[in-house]
């Protein structure tokens, strides 16, 4: 009787133990495999970010002084006072570029998904902006310079004396071109999941084209629109070359450029890192919402 019990129990516990051991080895193996990636991000992303958060609470370059850093909230006070316009102009430029991309990107994505057969050609053209904002800003400078490619067009519009090069519109335009593909990509993905028969059904039921767009297409592609807008906003918030090369003093106050000036040129590390922290929290807020909206749970 008891012998029988042992015979039954023994293999069962063995199997459980075996499974557990195998699970433990699997966990160890997987951890070893991910370890380089984790170490890299910890050492070269998370630690530096924590470092600048800590540094943003120290006064100017006191971090270097032999007496040790002077901890203060002064930087954040200055940020909300004297440097508030910088934060606002950064948000304003990124917001305008996002709006521009949305207005021009939605029809583009729609035509691309529904009408265009030469999509590979379009893809070929669309990679050019992605090589970087630097080349776009540099090229735009040539176009907008007096005597550049845009001069005949401006003459045609009767605006030959308008100040186009160093101003807000040219900065926003360059930023929009840089991020246009991101918007088109997001909206296009959402649109290609919408069945074309829905539009036909709406038309059959007597909806005008704008009603179809407003009440069928826009609600169905909302996730793509939100994800695209957030992505574009997030990229443009760190704009560096466009405001610098195309903007006037007002646009050159964007956080990324001021941060460089303060930190690397004037070695005011405290204030510079504070700007970094503000920029980072803006970017992370945007990222948080964009990840919530994009349903791309890739690894599960």
């Amino acid at each position: 009787m008891s012998g029988e019990q042992i015979v039954v129990a023994q293999p069962a516990t063995l199997a459980v133990r075996d499974v557990r051991r195998r699970e433990r080895t699997a966990r160890m193996t997987s951890l070893t495999l991910v370890l380089p990636a984790i170490l890299l991000t910890l050492l070269f992303l998370y630690y530096p970010l924590v470092f600048i958060v800590r540094m943003s609470f120290t006064l100017a370059d006191s971090f270097l002084s032999p007496a040790g850093p002077t901890f203060t909230l002064e930087n954040y006070v200055v940020m909300t006072g004297r440097y508030l316009p910088n934060v606002l102009v950064t948000i304003k430029l990124a917001g305008l570029a996002t709006l521009f991309d949305l207005v021009f990107g939605f029809p583009f994505a729609y035509i691309l998904v529904r009408r265009v057969r030469y999509r590979d050609l379009v893809r070929g053209f669309m990679v050019f902006p992605m090589f970087g904002a630097l080349y776009i800003a540099f090229g735009m400078r040539f176009i907008l310079l007096p005597g550049g490619l845009a001069t005949p067009l401006l003459k045609l519009l009767g605006a030959e004396n308008a100040q186009v090069l160093y101003g807000l519109p040219s900065v926003v335009f360059a930023m929009s071109i840089f991020t246009f593909p991101f918007m088109v990509m997001n909206i296009g993905t959402a649109l290609s999941n919408v069945d074309p028969t829905l539009e036909e059904a709406a038309a059959c039921l007597g909806a005008r084209p704008w009603q179809t767009i407003w009440r069928v297409l826009l609600p169905l592609t909302r996730a793509g629109i939100v994800a695209g807008s957030l992505m574009v906003f997030g990229w443009n918030i760190g704009a560096f070359a466009e405001p610098l090369l195309l903007g006037s003093i007002a646009e050159q106050r964007t956080l990324a450029w001021t941060l460089y000036q303060r930190g690397v040129v004037q070695t005011d590390y405290g204030l510079s890192t504070t700007m970094g922290v503000v920029l980072l929290s803006l970017a992370f807020t945007v990222t948080y919402f964009s990840l919530r909206y994009s349903r791309g749970a890739l690894v599960e």
């Binding site: 997987s30 990636a37 530096p48 029809p107 080349y135 593909p181 990222t287 690894v299």
Partner: protein, 266 residues
């Protein structure tokens, strides 16, 4: 009947015109640079600027290729095992870990730059080493490598590995001789994405570059800021864009666009 038809045709024509207009806008900055790069000293047509690119800017191009190459190797070494573990093994908090690893993509370049240059100065003592720059590029771009790899591995049924192991292959053999070749397109997608970003990166480089290294995009940036507008600078920018463009087109031709889905290219 004919009126609605012609209206429809007009609509189609207008939409194609709109697409072409947008496409023109995308390449316009490049066209402008290309146009300017052929301007000679007397305003005439000249090829001399491109001789300059491979002469005086040659070392910058070499640095760009060197940094990109080293970064790609590091990216691959870090991402391959990580992607494999993320897809094939059960993991506590897998989604959280993946988000944590891809977060570098969302950090603005200027923030990453200032954070790294300060830690290089005060903690790591990496300011005078090429590896500081390479590691900065790696941490910023390895998520671009990781994502296509994860996609490719998820697409690959596990039966291939199991079959290989049933036929007597060890884990390593199954990995190197079965999995690795089968996820080739995913690997090259990752290589392409990180190459394009690293090759054209100027912002993080501006912060962390050691004084003896000036990559080509950084040279463009510096010259535009200090020397004004020169045809030679335009020629360098054009060369950089053409190299990137050739890489992209070659990839499209060989592998198609499937593996670039969900990444920043298409």
């Amino acid at each position: 009947m004919s009126r609605t038809l012609s209206r429809r045709r007009l609509g189609g024509l207008l939409s194609h015109a709109y697409v072409w207009f947008c496409l023109l806008m995308f390449v316009l900055p490049f066209i402008a640079l290309l146009n300017y790069s052929f301007t000679g000293p007397q305003g005439n047509y000249a090829l001399e600027n491109f001789k300059y690119v491979f002469g005086s800017f040659g070392s910058n191009l070499v640095w760009s290729f060197k940094i990109s190459g080293l970064t790609l190797v590091l990216n691959l070494l870090v991402s391959l095992p990580a992607a494999y573990a993320l897809v094939r093994y059960p993991f506590p908090g897998k989604r959280f870990l993946f988000s944590g690893l891809t977060l570098p993509l969302y950090v603005p370049g200027a923030v990453l730059g200032i954070a790294l240059v300060l830690t290089y100065n005060f903690t790591y003592r990496l300011t005078t080493s090429m590896w500081g720059l390479v590691l900065a590029m790696t941490v910023g771009t390895f998520p671009l490598m990781l994502t296509p790899l994860v996609v490719a591995l998820k697409d690959l049924p596990i039966v291939f590995e199991e079959a290989a192991q049933c036929l007597g292959a060890t884990r390593w053999q199954a990995y190197w001789r079965v999995v690795f070749p089968l996820i080739g397109p995913g690997i090259s997608a990752g290589l392409l994405l990180s190459f394009i970003i690293v090759f054209n990166e100027y912002l993080v480089t501006l912060f962390v570059h050691p004084t003896f290294i000036t990559t080509a995009p950084l040279r463009v940036f510096g010259l535009v800021r200090t020397a004004g507008l020169l045809p030679t600078t335009a020629a360098l920018a054009v060369t950089m864009q053409l190299i990137s463009f050739v890489a992209v087109i070659a990839f499209f031709r060989i592998f198609g666009t499937r593996y670039l889905k969900g990444t920043y290219l298409i």
